[in-house]
Amino acid sequence: MKSKDLIRFAASAIAAHPMRSALTSLGVVIGVAAVVMMTSIGLGAQQRVMSAISGLGSNLIIVSPAASRSGFAAQAAGSDISITGADAEAIAKQVEGVAAVAPTVRGQAQLAAEGTNWNSRIEGVTPDYLVARDLTIGQGRMFDDREARQGRTVAVIGTTVARELFGEADPLGKRIRVGSSPFQVVGVLTSKGQSGFGQDQDDIVLGPLPAVRSRVVGRRVKGDTVQTIYIKAASEDDLSRVQEDATTLLRERHRIREGEDDDFQAQNMASILQASQAATATFTILLAAVAAVSLVVGGVGIMNIMLVAVTERTREIGLRMAVGAKRSDILIQFALESVALSLAGGILGLLIGIGGALLIAKLGSWPMAIPSWAAPLSLGFSMAVGLVFGAYPSWQASRLDPIEALRRE
């Protein structure tokens, strides 16, 4: 017999009980939809983290006050911030293989220029900051070390700030008020777009560290302390050694005894990446377990209904055999039915999963990331489920004795 006739038989049997078929597939629908949705969300999250991490700049080590003490309350009090500009200088001088060290303070400030207001992030940095964070100047120039030391109130702004404050006009040389202090714009950064964390990286003002500390974030950052020291290693090979050396140096400088915890935290991209990959791996295993369980549940549902179908249609099977169906024809017909039920569930589940992922991406302004293997894998798996769980009922159907089957009521 012809395969298209087998498909026709299977399709007509499924269509004969639309409601039952739909309910039978539901398990697979839910399983596949859940898996597709979760992987999409997981992948989106991962991509976001990855781009956030790589957005920080390459070969970067980020030193910040110890996590336990870096809460907002502690920072606001200004008392517990443990890293200083002197620390940064020491690292620059004493640790080898360092391309740039950039101590940073930051705050949020109201900007004003030519009657326009804008609220933005302001960071007090040294010129090395550009190197550390892989930033470049698009227009104008970066302030230099001398200007910084002299406490000059000059600023480099991001393109978003330039647009919001000056529109199409050239911002170079213009004055902006940051909080209550006037700064002069000397440069505009090259646009970097959105960061992986969903932050507009062009919505920023960079000023010399001393000036920003004293005039903008003064109340919160006392003395020589800074909030972050960015260290850029000269190469990837140097990265972990630079981190170790810097850690040792800081422990010495902070007089931390052996066995005591660091009062700062040094992280590099590789370690952040590793942590995020470990999290992803755990998530993937969890997901695989959920997928396996839901597909097995779906499969058992299909097997159950197929067993019912074989019992109900015993006479039909006997008759088909009587008019010339081979055992293999019966086997294939029922296996096809089971695979079709499961595959239909898989297709529907895939569509629902993609729809759900799109919706979540839209609502949560989350990057949309449906893995390329979602479609082939979920369809492959649902087919396999249909085949595996349909095998026993189909085999039973094909082993029926035609005479007994015809006699069945």
Partner: protein, 226 residues
């Protein structure tokens, strides 16, 4: 020529052995018209099932033309049923989901015949049994006599060599039964070999050859030479 020799069919029921067929032999040429009669449980249906390739004898030989059917495997028997045999059952055995036309098509599907060709032939067979206008009716939308005629059309679909009808009028009233019998006689007159099982003496009387069964044995065989 179709011939079987010393066919036995026994069933093991616990310690007891039940002989549904206790050794029957018969031969008949193409174009024969046989009526098998006998009391209930005498082995008529058992013989029909073996002749139709639905069952295998416990022992004995069954020759269909030159083919030894008793040695065919499952697939071989399926092919034999499909190509050589037309079956008509007492309870019609139509698939309720399918239209008359689709029911008649079924044996041709398993023969691998193309859709267009088998539609045409199915329509032709339905016309032959007088149901040209009932093609798209489902079994539940037809009377018993009509259903049995659809079943006959189906049995003819692959142009069989032997038509087996096990009490084909058993579920029909007498006048519908007569119509169905007339159809068999017409088919036989066109050259088709027909074997039918019946409890109706009048029906049996019209057959050219009448074979009587009792306790799994042939006890009478009349009209063989006519």
């Amino acid at each position: 020529m179709i011939a079987f020799r010393d066919l036995k069919k026994t069933y093991q029921m616990g310690d007891e052995t039940v002989a549904a067929l206790a050794g029957v032999s018969l031969s008949f040429p193409r174009g024969s018209y046989l009526a098998i009669t006998g009391p209930s449980g005498s082995g008529k249906s058992t013989l029909m099932n073996i002749l139709g390739g639905l069952d295998r004898p416990t022992s004995g030989q069954y020759l269909f033309e030159d083919e030894d059917v008793s040695h065919l495997d499952d697939d071989g028997l399926a092919h034999f049923r499909n190509q050589r045999i037309g079956f008509v059952f007492q309870s019609f055995q139509l698939l309720p989901r399918y239209s008359a036309l689709q029911n008649v098509e079924l044996p041709m599907v398993y023969a691998g015949i193309e859709v267009k060709e088998r539609r045409e032939r199915a329509a032709e067979m339905l016309a032959k049994v007088g149901l040209a206008d009932r093609r798209h009716h489902r079994p539940t939308q037809m009377s018993g006599g009509q259903q049995q005629r659809v079943a006959i059309a189906r049995s003819l679909a692959n142009n069989p060599d032997l038509l087996l009808a096990d009490e084909p009028t058993g579920a029909l009233d007498s006048s519908t039964g007569k119509d169905v019998m007339a159809l068999f006689e017409q088919l036989n007159s066109e050259g088709l070999t027909v074997i039918l099982v019946t409890h109706d003496a009048n029906v049996a009387a019209r057959a050219r050859r009448r074979v009587g069964f009792r306790d799994g044995l042939i006890v009478s065989d009349e009209g063989a030479k006519s």
